[in-house]
């Protein structure tokens, strides 16, 4: 209450940092003049407000600083695992420059490669080479958008969907089966395969949804269990007759027909495919569903307080089932891209890699908002793409990317920690709560 009497009260600040930044960049004095009549109290300029907010514990700053912190820890890991660099630390008191130089070279080269592999390589001479990093980033981003949206959508409805991994597996299975078993004309074939993927995920999401709604069985436990059932089902299915590649003895299925594959965006050697367009579409659709539709309203109501929602006449049972079916379908779509896109064309036991689990991180990093999730997926896709280059050029294992991703999310999940480390000011609005602690 007393806050309102003080200058620069929280309520009167611009809605977002970006808005503040725009005003600042435009004309600080004009902005100041314009605000004076409406704010009779003594107020600092918007420019100063922006600068103050820059170093406050708001979403943007915390995310950025989390990234920095994660990279610092990553750098430490790189240094302690490099025997040559570590050797220079043996005589650090005698010649500290050696240790510092060696560490700097190692770390800066690794992170430079991370950048060159994901955003832009200044050494590129052809258009293809210049577009290649972006193309790789988009290729890794597309499925993560879907699994991230899947987890985020469930989160908003008060459910924690750890089963995106299993749902994506069922999605990739059905998409691949539709892709090489059904003889269909080009466009129809792709459409059917994509829908089959969504169906597979939806079925795998329906099970924990109905169990939660009917028996109260906790979705976290059930989705974890269903993940592993899906894994074993996949490893069994791959080696069955009609599925396994007849020319191979190892666990790999027949490849998906060309008619069911997503078209490439930038032509042949570049891997970016139509999946990223679907991802943008899906983000828009989920944003619409959450914020504009009746179901989205019910979903958010149930997520905020199931008892109140029930009292208000919303069927909690039905909503839980629908949430999980939609979440499953999204994850299934993400999975289907792993065979319909350019990553692979056939089923293998590890065909979907970690996209389901990464989706959880993406959803948390994106603050469980659709467009935030898309941005987070882009960051993770970039890390993945850059990690490949870092591995082949600097010899830094791709696993470092997993470490970075996990660390970023740990830091953003505990904004209080980041705030304490960097001595940030308190945020204007407490929007940083990713916590959804409610136990089993």
């Amino acid at each position: 209450m007393t806050d309102n009497l003080q200058p620069g009260s929280p309520d009167k600040e611009p809605a977002s940092e970006e808005q503040a930044a725009q005003v600042t960049l435009g004309n600080t004095e004009q902005a100041e003049a314009a605000t004076t009549p409406t704010a009779p109290h003594q107020r600092p300029t918007l420019g100063r407000l922006f600068l103050e907010n820059l170093w406050a514990a708001n979403t943007f700053t915390v995310t950025l600083l989390s990234l920095v912190l994660a990279m610092v820890v990553g750098a430490v890991l790189m240094i302690i695992s490099d025997p040559d660099v570590l050797a220079t630390y043996a005589y650090i008191t005698a010649r500290p420059s050696d240790a510092i130089n060696a560490s700097w070279t190692l770390v800066s080269e690794a992170y430079a490669n991370l950048f060159k592999g994901s955003v832009f390589d200044p050494g590129a001479t052809t258009l293809t080479a210049a577009l290649s990093p972006i193309s790789e980033t988009l290729t890794y981003t597309a499925p993560l958008v879907f699994t991230g949206l899947s987890v985020a959508l469930a989160f908003r409805g008060g459910l924690f969907n750890i089963g995106a991994q299993g749902q994506a597996i069922m999605g990739v299975i059905l998409a691949a089966l539709a892709g090489f078993l059904l003889p269909l004309p080009p466009v129809v074939h792709l459409l059917v395969a994509v829908l089959a993927g969504a169906l597979g995920g939806a079925v795998w999401g329906f099970i924990p949804g109905i169990l939660k709604a009917r028996t109260g069985a906790h979705e976290v436990i059930n989705t974890i269990m269903l993940n592993y059932i899906a894994v074993y089902f996949l490893t069994w299915l791959i080696v069955q007759k009609g599925v396994q590649d007849p020319n191979r003895t190892d666990a790999i299925s027949r490849p998906v027909d060309a008619s069911a594959q997503l078209p490439r965006l930038f032509g042949e050697p570049l891997r970016a495919h139509g999946g990223i367009l679907l991802a943008v579409l899906a983000t828009w659709a989920v944003a619409w569903l959450l914020n504009r539709s009746t179901l989205g309203f019910e979903l958010r109501a149930v997520g905020a307080n199931p008892d109140a929602a029930r009292t208000a006449g919303i069927s909690v049972t039905r909503t839980y089932v629908l949430i999980m079916v939609f979440a499953g379908a999204l994850a299934g779509l993400g999975g289907s891209q792993m065979v319909l896109g350019t990553t692979a064309a056939a089923l293998t036991p590890l065909v979907i890699a970690q996209i389901g689990f990464d989706g959880i991180l993406v959803a948390l990093l994106g603050r469980v908002k659709p467009w935030g999730v898309a941005m987070a997926a882009l960051l993770f896709g970039a890390l993945q793409a850059g990690g490949n280059r870092m591995q082949s050029y600097s010899g830094i294992s791709l696993e470092l990317v997993t470490v970075l991703q996990a660390l970023i999310v740990i830091f953003i999940a505990a904004p209080a920690l980041v705030k304490a480390i960097f001595q940030l000011r308190a945020a204007r609005a407490a929007r940083l709560q990713t916590s959804l602690a409610k136990g089993w």
Binding site: I162, I221, Q354, L417, S435
Partner: protein
């Protein structure tokens, strides 16, 4: 598991009580065993040898006869349940019914095995069951300690992995198994320390934190494995191993002796830990406090229990136990490889839930899951028509059925997963 915000189906007090429903399921299983397993079994003798191979004394039964006989026992158990069955007989009759079903299945499988392989070496089966259950026992005990004091531990996988890794690394560098063992415990508790700090101090959702920590452990161990262990396996990944200790007298018991009492330190440690934690949890002051902190922290706090301190201590202890469980791989069986735990931590979580958050229950569940795993290996070896993958699914399916209330309702400690804010 009763989630208050969902309309939980009221306990059916009509004709179809839980006992009758389970009886119906048993009846169906019995019918399946009698008809299908009986028809598919061959007239070969199914031999269950009391040794590690086909030789020696054996329990023998004609395949068809055995399959049908045990199937009928399951049917009978189901029938008894459908009729009026006193509540205290529920568990024993259910156990008889299920065991008979498994035996009927085995009679079919063993008798239908290729010629010359119509035997099941029980020593191998029991030993394999315990061996495969080991990380599950340690992992689920870690879960019991955490969750009984109100912190959800989904990070068991990460704790096992970190334990396995640091056990291998420091065991190799020092050349001592004991240093490796201590390092494994520290490695596991490093992950659980993170879990504790973030969930107790920073109030991050515990399930979220657990999942993220699993990925962090996977990343760190994978990264250091590629950087250190792959480039110089001699130095960093050749840990010494604990040898087997034979316990005199006990090791002469048929079947159980060679399987259970010629094991390594981890086997004995696991069994002792189950006993110790069981007694500590239900018979000591610490146990009472731990349970009260997990059920109703406010009340415990009112009575002077230091809620947060106790939670920190228990969670870190849990990490140490899981870390040792991870070392049961790298300091006894294999050298470290990337992601070598491969989901065992999640089966341990399943065992914890299936065992209803009690140490003995977790032990039994872990053994059941270990048996399913071992059976899958055995069936693979005799070219069974049952794919091993489906048996591997069994633990997960059983857990889903358990939490859905189809096999009795399981209930977590009331304050499990809820951060405590003193106020």
């Amino acid at each position: 598991m009763a989630v208050p915000d969902v309309a939980v189906a009221a306990v059916d007090e009509g004709y179809w009580t839980r006992t009758r429903k389970v009886g119906l399921v048993l009846l169906a299983l019995g019918l399946l065993a009698t008809v299908l397993f009986g028809a598919l079994a061959t007239g070969e003798q199914a031999r269950f040898t009391l040794s590690e191979n086909a030789a020696g004394a054996a329990l023998e039964v004609n395949g068809t006869v055995g399959a049908i006989l045990f199937g009928l026992i399951t049917l009978a158990a189901g029938a008894v349940m459908l009729a009026r069955l006193p509540k205290r007989w529920f568990i024993p009759v259910l156990a008889v019914g299920l065991v008979a079903f498994v035996l009927s299945f085995l009679c079919w499988q063993v008798s239908a095995a290729p010629d010359g392989q119509n035997f099941m070496p029980l020593v191998n089966i029991v030993r394999g069951t315990f061996l495969l259950a080991l990380p599950l026992i340690f992992g689920s005990l870690a879960g019991v300690l955490c969750e009984r004091s109100g912190v959800v531990n989904v990070a068991i996988e990460g704790q096992l992995l970190m334990g396995a890794f640091s056990g291998a690394l420091f065991g190799s560098i020092s050349g001592s198994v004991w240093v490796g063992l201590v390092a494994a415990a520290i490695g596991g508790s490093f992950i659980s320390l993170l879990l504790a700090v973030f969930s107790i101090k920073y109030l991050v959702d515990q399930v979220v934190m657990g999942i993220v920590l699993n990925l962090l452990a996977l990343g760190i161990t994978g990264f250091l494995y590629e950087r250190l262990m792959q480039t110089n396996a001699e130095r960093y990944n050749s840990a010494p191993r604990f040898s087997n200790w034979e316990i005199p007298l006990l090791s002469d018991i048929p079947v159980l002796g060679p399987a259970l009492f010629r094991g390594n330190i981890f086997l004995y440690l696991a069994l002792v830990l189950v006993l110790v934690i069981h007694i500590a949890l239900f018979r000591t002051r610490w146990g009472l406090r731990t349970r009260s902190v997990g059920e109703h922290p406010t009340a415990a706090d009112t009575l002077g229990v230091k809620v947060l301190g106790l939670r920190y201590r228990n969670v870190i202890m849990a990490g140490a136990i899981a870390g040792i469980g991870g070392a049961s791989y790298t300091l006894a069986l294999f050298s470290f490889t990337k992601n070598m735990i491969g989901g065992k931590g999640f089966i341990a979580l399943a065992a914890l839930i299936f065992g209803r958050w009690s140490p003995t229950g977790a032990l039994l569940a872990a053994l059941f899951f270990g048996f399913a795993d071992q059976l899958a290996t055995y069936l693979g070896a005799i070219n069974s028509v049952i794919p091993g993958q489906f048996l591997a699914m069994l633990p997960y399916l059983a857990t889903i059925l358990a939490v859905a209330g189809l096999v009795g309702r399981v209930r977590a400690p009331a304050a499990d997963g809820k951060p405590y804010i003193k106020g």
